[in-house]
């Protein structure tokens, strides 16, 4: 008996996993549905994408001498 909606915990887990590998069809559509209705998870998903972009720039930042 599947639930109609994934919880925020399930959805955020999928947003994270999607950064490593393509999701299956069901997960992908459930995630999209959840994100359409949930501001918090949409923000989460954008934030981890930003952190991904930021992390790629760590070597450049180290060069400029951080910390």
């Amino acid at each position: 008996m599947g639930k109609l909606m994934y919880s925020c915990e399930q959805a955020s887990k999928l947003s994270s996993r999607a950064m490593e590998e393509p999701l299956g069809r069901l997960d992908r559509s459930m995630l999209r549905l959840h994100l359409m209705m949930c501001r918090g998870c949409t923000n989460f998903s954008r934030q981890i994408e930003f952190l991904h972009r930021a992390s790629r720039k760590v070597p450049g930042a180290i060069e400029k001498d951080i910390g």
Partner: protein, 190 residues
Amino acid sequence: MGGDEDLAKSLESHRKYLLRYALFQLRDASLAEDAVQETFIAALAHRDSFEGRSTLRTWLSSILMHKIVDLVRSRQRGLPADALTLGNEHDAAEAAFDGKGRWIDPPADWGLPDAALESNQFWRVYQKCCQRMPERHALVFSMREVMDMSTEEICKKLEISRSNLHVILYRARLSLRSCMTKKWFSAGHG
């Protein structure tokens, strides 16, 4: 051939950068020195495999990353195999959601965060937040997000399963975004 002395000299010119990099990952100055020293030794021993396809710094960084992984692994040897995911490392995920899987404190909009990448202060906060993660989580996160290693390579190197890797990266991201929210985006910067 005369090349060795030149190579040794070029290696020296990258020492400061590599030390900072190692310190960022290892959080311990003498371990960082060790890692860089071993990197130089390995670089000299395998100089033939450096073919100028990447820059010298990129090549050295990747050797260094492997040394760092080895150091973290040997430092943590003796911990149970599943120490990567068990223990207080549950906290980040469990503190974020209630019993029904709803956000306790739903993530708020960070606006247009990319401007922050130009700020040195932002990077200090980023580094502090990475250091709040359990060491091995921070390492896995760096291997994936900073070094851009494939998931297969990380699993093999650390002898962890794919699902284990997903759990660690998820918790690392939860922890980092929560810390960055508190220390940067809602601290009047974003």
